[in-house]
Symmetry: C2
Subunit: 129 residues, 2 copies
């Protein structure tokens, strides 16, 4: 079965969130956690994804597939649903490359980075892309 990880930053705070309130990222994590996960998806809360200027943030990764990092996500049910939708797409696709047109709105404009699958390190040491 295809597998992938959905990482959610649990320390992200949106601008204006009170310091004694739960971090927005933790609320987003719980919003995802309470939903049914697609088979093969492993959900992980991570203390910091380094996307502090574009909170809330999340990432999808799996060996041999494209990695995506998303930001600017409100900590609400819509973000949770959109993340699980693209996670299911990522699981289905052999290379995990998510077509722009098939992604929900927040995960189009919210792309922070997109990395190609890691090579098996059998080719020459420098490729021009």
């Amino acid at each position: 079965m295809s597998t992938a990880e959905l990482l959610i930053c649990t320390t992200c705070r949106a601008a204006g969130t009170a310091k004694d309130a739960a971090p927005d990222g933790r609320r987003l994590f719980h919003a995802v956690q309470t939903r049914e996960l697609p088979p093969g998806l492993h959900l992980r809360g991570i203390a910091c994804l380094g996307v502090c200027s574009r909170s809330c943030s999340a990432a999808l990764q799996a060996p041999g597939k494209f990695t995506y990092v998303f930001g600017d996500l409100p900590a609400d049910a819509d973000s949770a649903e959109q993340l699980l939708l693209v996670a299911a797409q990522h699981l289905r696709l052999d290379d995990g490359q998510l077509p722009w047109s098939d992604r929900p709105e927040r995960l189009r404009r919210g792309v922070v980075a997109r990395l190609v699958p890691a090579l098996p390190f059998t080719s020459t040491p420098a490729d021009a892309g």
Copy 2:
């Protein structure tokens, strides 16, 4: 031997770069390519890393290690040297987690994202971090 990939976006353009000029990212790629690479490092030019708002951009990845994405990099010799310095650190470290204090200045404030190593998918389906 430890291996890792240094991905450099070859289509990144800094604000104000003329449309008929070579992309800044391609100049950064060539600045790295002309230097001696640490053993085990695989350099790849990638047409887009999705970090368009923080060009130039680059990333370090290797199976079982932390992934780093960097942005706001001028296309010059200093950026090339700093990228190769942290690439050598990433190769040496078992988990690839780069201490903030050991990183050159541009690769401290230029962090776009930092992802934990992918799990081998043997644990429970939801972990709180």
